[in-house]
Symmetry: C2
């Protein structure tokens, strides 16, 4: 499988590096708007050594430079901004896998954009998928798959508690670690501190299970350090902000049917990914220490390429396509 990598930020560069280490998939083209990258070999930018693929400045140039089977799009989270990019790629008949969190399940949050992408993808006979580890796996499709062995599901609760010390620097900054409380609150108000995707995960779960939600909530609060904590990059004094906690809820009437607890902080003492399904039977599943998000998002994106190429045309969700697995 030959892919075009569009967007060479930290995520795109890691994906390019990962693809260079894999068999069964290879990089055929690349594009980014960063003037320092344009014209360079993508491998030089990613630290792999030359890969024989030159970074182009536009999506069109990258597509015309090679004969690819799929494009990986890691430019922005915002569906509004990424939609024209998706339309351009599928306009050339190429399937798309994107890490845009808002693309996971935009049917409820951005129905008009979802319909436009779906129509364009169908017209070009190409599949489009938004995925990653979260949203895309740990807090939506994995709990959904666990319900496959349930005769009844009353509620789904997922918690992802991460020690951010082991994540890349932009992630540590993004969760507000090291800030004073006032600074944190100002950035939350500006929407600069938030995990994007809880609402999309909730809608994907509800739609798949056949639940009509009356309300979706998404509440952000700081994690305050009780005693001083530090990572390789950031020191947090007692009383300072160690990270963020975000709770998403999907309600039917007053009943909390879906609860997603996302917490990422420096010094988190009990990291892990836990899924609790109440129903028949009850299921409690735990991933010890949780899955590293940086590795997981890049791997999930690459592994999804195989299934998106085989998928039906149109805007798909991770629950619509055949099981994504590692491949070699």
């Amino acid at each position: 499988m030959k892919v075009i990598q569009i967007g060479l930020g930290p995520l795109g560069r890691k994906i390019a590096r990962y693809i260079s280490e894999r068999s069964g998939i290879e990089m055929a083209g690349a594009a980014d708007i960063n003037p320092e990258f344009i014209g360079q070999d993508v491998g030089e930018i990613c630290g792999t050594g030359p890969l024989g693929v030159t970074v182009k400045s536009t999506i069109m140039e990258a597509i015309e430079s090679c004969d690819a089977d799929c494009a990986i799009l890691t430019t922005v989270s915002s569906l509004q901004i990424i939609t024209p990019q998706i339309l351009e790629v599928v306009g050339h008949g190429l399937p798309v896998v994107s890490t845009s969190e808002e693309l996971l399940h935009p049917w409820k949050t951005e129905p008009e954009l979802a319909s436009r992408i779906d129509a364009a993808a169908k017209a070009s006979n190409a599949g489009v998928l938004g995925t990653g580890i979260n949203p895309g796996f740990l807090m939506d499709s994995l709990p959904l798959f666990l319900t496959a062995v349930c005769q009844r599901v009353d509620s789904v609760k997922v918690s992802r508690l991460q020690d951010a010390s082991f994540r890349r620097e932009p992630f540590q900054r993004k969760i507000g670690a090291g800030l004073a409380l006032g600074e944190f609150e100002a950035l939350v108000a500006e929407k600069k501190i938030r995990h994007v995707g809880l609402a999309e995960s909730i809608h994907l779960i509800a739609d798949s299970l056949g639940w009509e939600l009356d309300q979706v909530e998404d509440i952000i609060s700081p994690v305050i350090a009780e005693s001083p904590v530090e990572s390789n990059l950031i020191q947090v004094p007692a009383g300072g902000v160690a990270g963020v906690q975000q709770i998403g809820k999907g309600l039917v009437g007053n009943e909390e049917k879906i609860t997603l607890v996302f917490r990422a902080s420096i010094g988190e003492t009990d990291p892990g990914d836990t899924i609790e399904i109440e129903g028949d039977p009850n299921i409690k599943s735990t991933i010890d220490q949780g899955v590293n998000g940086d590795i997981g998002t890049c791997a999930m994106t690459i592994n999804a390429v195989k299934q998106v190429i085989r998928a039906r045309p149109g805007l798909q969700t991770i629950a619509d396509i055949p099981l994504v697995t590692h491949f070699s």
Copy 2:
């Protein structure tokens, strides 16, 4: 969705009962060869009260008695014996979901039968799937889905340790609980004590990950009670057989790439379903207490109907179809 239930043994009756409790799916027809069942209302046999569906003596009669979307086939494990039944159902253009363990992934174990089923299903534009909780979920598709967030997979190990005290009577008998060692060994030699499906799970995992196995092993041994244990039905003295342990291995050269440990015994002290993936990242996932197999198999079968109806024609595996989830 309207389904025909073919086979009204303990599993088929439980599935029929479960369907009667669900929305979005209903029983439209039923067949069994048991003379005591033929002509009865399927609900009377299953203990639900009348469902308005009469048990027919043949598959053809059941199919002709209603307008169904799919058939659920819970007659036998043996692919050799179930193949003509599958061919008859798909011959009428109906998709099939079956709990036949050997149907999970018969491409390596029974390639000729697999090809015949696949060709017939494609000719009739119907999907065919073998599934259940094990094989079908806990020891194959669930670990496979966990590899979706892996950049590299070196090995997959799954263990399912069950306290058989909580399972239905035929299951407790099937694992040899309460037997003397000599009796157990004689029944193993006659293939009357064995969990069917480990080899199929191993082949499904290997195929999905792109591994070419050199050897598949399947080793059965007794679980000996160290002290007396008992269930509601069976008493096991110290030194007696409390159940069975079966270990499946998939090897590439001398390297154990896939290890499946299935243990079911009365008085199992550490029940649970554990998946360990070695790779990048390592993943260890545990389902506390494990999932009840009787509930899980029936639920998985019903939940799969929705996706098999949407699936591509032909013999599918659980990794080929869209994500199976509960639905309502």
